[in-house]
């Protein structure tokens, strides 16, 4: 029996990060559920033991059920039957396996039937599901939507829908329209209210992952005559109402494992989530942040799978009378891939911890007044979660694509054939830089942390953590030089005070910051486990050279250059 948790020591390493004690303590409100629920933990040791046991069972499902189904799930896709979605039997089996294991509604409170897990273990299961089948991952990951209901919906809605979500009701986030993709402010689907206060939805949505889910969160224009984001509200639509039609299941390049639908709503009764007009500006933004963390997990999972395929193939494939892994050109590629997979994973769980700290403290703030220290903590972690989430989405999705590309390269001609799983992984990876905000939009969301110095502040903190690590003197010196170089680049790009020019250089700046942060993370990891040191060294080599190139690009630019690009 294979197991994606037990065969990857890094997961246990990240699950046992020192900050977890604080996160779980807060999340469990000092373990007050212990007497109320027979599956609630008594203390930190009990909680982390439970986390590990659940990771283990999820790891088994991912390896024994989801991964073996991935090929057929990809080949068969999904279809429409009587205006509704019909899942192929492989995806249905994956779904049932996870549902029966209570891996649905993982982050929900126990009173709704959830596991009350934080983002770290939740994202970890997401990583393993994605390693098994990057396409099916979306299907499962959309349980994120329950998070939005938990955060913003009325108690009445929560009492109705959250127990269903914990019991395996599928969820979808119904946002995109033909003319509203990155620009969600242009959403047109109409919500009207009758004299009794009942809302009805009318209109078309496009590119909706698992659109015909049991519980659908729909962004709609509730304020007639408005044209921007302030006229949009979020609604929950129950599939039982049977007032929606799946007009089309898209024929996509990848992620065939999760259906992408065009949805038509005809006088579909729906209920308002939270307050009117807050749909996009507050709720969808929150939903989106959760989804970006989810894509981070998906990207790491696909990358891990692709790296393993490459490693295995390079050992088995012989050319010139020896396994190709013996050739520098191949092991160099593999070494760099490995460094990136481990680097993006460190960034993933660092981000998940920041999100957890920020979210839990916000929840507690609703229950009682925070202590001054807690208020400081909340402010800090919220800032970090906001800065790291888009950085993670950018790096992990871009690298997921690079790694699947390199893995296929190692497979040579065989990789180009449909005979090996890598071709599917290349296709599944491609969407990660696009949905839940393109890489370009992640740069826009990250640049503030560059210009306001949040990333620089964090770099200094990491450097301080390494203060006593005398064995890392060379690496620290290099990183300090890189940090200076980065600050200089920021200065150069902001000096002209030209927004277009800053936008033009933004990607280089964000990538420089990310390279430094990931180097620091891997070095910090090496303090807890020395096996990360060679990985960190490999990564630092790449990052150092990469940042030099980017610095030169920024240093040799000027606002007037932009004219030459406007075609």
């Amino acid at each position: 029996m294979a197991n994606f948790y037990n065969d990857n020591e890094d997961l246990k390493f990240h699950l046992n990060h020192p900050l977890m004690k604080r996160i779980i303590e807060l999340r469990e409100r000092n373990y007050s559920d212990y007497e109320k629920y027979d599956y609630a933990p008594k203390n930190y040791e009990d909680a982390i033991d439970s986390y590990e046991k659940v990771m283990e069972l999820a790891g088994e499902i991912c390896a024994d059920v989801i991964a073996p189904n991935a090929e057929q799930n990809d080949l068969q896709g999904h279809s429409i039957e009587n205006d509704h979605l019909k899942y192929n039997p492989y995806a249905a089996e994956d779904y049932e396996a996870l549902r029966k294991a209570s891996c649905w509604g993982m982050t929900m409170e126990r009173k709704y039937g959830g596991l009350n897990f934080g983002n770290v273990p939740y994202i970890m299961v997401g990583e393993m599901v994605s390693r098994g089948d990057g396409g099916f991952a979306n299907f499962w990951g959309l349980q994120d939507c329950a998070e939005t209901l938990a955060e913003f919906a009325s108690d009445e809605l929560k009492d109705e829908y959250l127990p269903k979500a914990c019991n395996g009701a599928t969820l979808s986030m119904v946002l995109t329209e033909p003319d509203a993709g990155s620009d969600l402010q242009s959403v047109q689907l109409k919500a009207r209210q009758d004299e009794n206060g009942q809302w009805y939805l009318n209109g078309v949505k496009r590119f909706i992952t698992n659109g015909d889910a049991d519980i659908q969160l729909v962004l709609a224009r509730s304020e007639e005559g408005t044209t921007d984001g302030r006229g949009l509200s979020l609604f929950v639509y129950d599939k039982d109402k049977n007032c929606e039609v799946v007009r089309r299941v898209e024929n996509k390049l990848g992620i065939h494992g999760s259906p992408t639908c065009e949805m038509v709503y005809k006088d579909a009764p729906a209920r308002l989530v939270g307050d009117r007009k807050m749909g996009l500006i507050k709720y969808v933004m929150s939903l989106m942040y959760g989804a970006r963390l989810g894509v981070g997990g998906q990207s790491v999972g696909i990358a891990e799978a692709a790296y393993r395929e490459a490693y295995k193939y390079a050992q088995e494939r012989e050319q010139f009378k020896k396994p190709i892994i013996k050739f520098p050109a191949v092991y160099q590629l593999l070494g760099n891939m490995n460094a990136k997979v481990k680097g993006m994973r460190s960034l993933l769980y660092e981000t998940a911890r920041f999100v957890d700290m920020s979210k839990i403290l916000q929840e507690i703030q609703k229950e009682r007044t925070l202590t001054p220290e807690e208020r400081k903590e909340l402010k800090y972690y919220k800032k970090m979660a906001d800065a790291y989430t888009p950085l993670l989405k950018l790096f992990s999705s871009e690298w997921c694509n690079q790694i699947t590309y390199d893995s296929l390269q190692i497979h040579g001609g065989s990789g180009f054939m449909k005979d090996f799983p890598i071709e599917r992984m290349v296709r599944d990876a491609r969407i990660t830089t696009i949905y839940e905000g393109t890489s370009q939009l992640q740069v826009v969301a990250s640049i503030k942390a560059v210009t306001t110095g949040v990333f620089a502040e964090k770099m200094a903190e990491y450097d301080a953590v390494l203060a006593d690590a005398t064995n890392l003197a060379d690496q620290k010196a290099k990183l300090l030089a890189m940090t200076e170089e980065y600050k200089k680049a920021v200065e150069l790009a902001t000096a002209p005070k030209d927004q277009d020019y800053l936008d033009f250089q933004a990607r280089a700046l964000v990538e420089m910051a990310g390279n430094i942060i990931i180097s620091y993370l891997l070095l910090t990891d090496s303090l807890r486990d020395a096996k990360f040191l060679p990985v960190a060294n490999n990564f630092l080599k790449l990052a150092y050279a990469d940042n030099k190139q980017r610095f030169e690009y920024v240093a040799n630019g000027k606002p007037e250059d932009l004219e030459g690009y406007r075609l």
Partner: protein, 291 residues
Amino acid sequence: MKKGFKIIVLAKQVPDTHNVGKDAMKEDGTMNRAALPAIFNPEDLNALEQALRIKDQFPETTITVLSMGLPKAADVIREAIFRGADNGILLTDRKLGGSDTLATSYAIAQAIKTIGNYDIVMCGRQAIDGDTAQVGPQAAEKLEIPQVTYAEEIVDINEKDITIRRRLEHGVETVNAPFPVLVTVTGSAAPCRSRNAKRVMKFKNAMTAMEIEAANADKALYEARPYLNITTWGADDVNIDPARTGKAGSPTFVKEIQSVVLTAKESKKLTGSDADINEFVKDIIDNHILG
């Protein structure tokens, strides 16, 4: 309308014979259990899944796992509980050591009678250590209840009877049986579902009294949460006649062990001639390799 059934699932902890090493056998020809990892007998997992499906349909169903074996067979009971069984009983006693299928089925039948008041006994077709497929049917005989062997799927179940599809060598057969009934399930039945996260967290500390003692665990926990105690029964708890159990009750004994090495003896040399090709094609069709 019946709301639930009372099901007893028989589960055996077996050495993992799929991964046999060179120390698998002892000098006397019996199995060296210490050299092989102990696992849940695969077809017993298929049986558990069938029981859990009945429970899915009739939530008030209770599933009790019964395992006879060494004290460490408590692992099998925990595993079954993690996957959805309600509780478990470990039948363990030195007096039961060395039992063959006759003595084992007697002991198990005694334990089932002690549990009493059941609708269905379910077990795997056979265990991968002995491969006899005798214990289930023998237990049914001793309990004087009907048995359905080689079950692959429960087609229907209602308060009066159960309809089962059997997988036989050359086809399938659908049969109907009244309650109580003993069902042996084959490996072609649906695989068992995984562990459930909530159940793992709830029952992870479940132990037998012996294990609680050995681990020096906090006794207060087991008093406060009685469901964490796995019941252990000895021979006397189920009224076993000493003459019918253990080595004394087992007419089977190992007479001789032969080490059989399989070699390919029947190689045939063929040329590219039409006659040889014809012969070869005919051969592979006859052997069902083709067609």
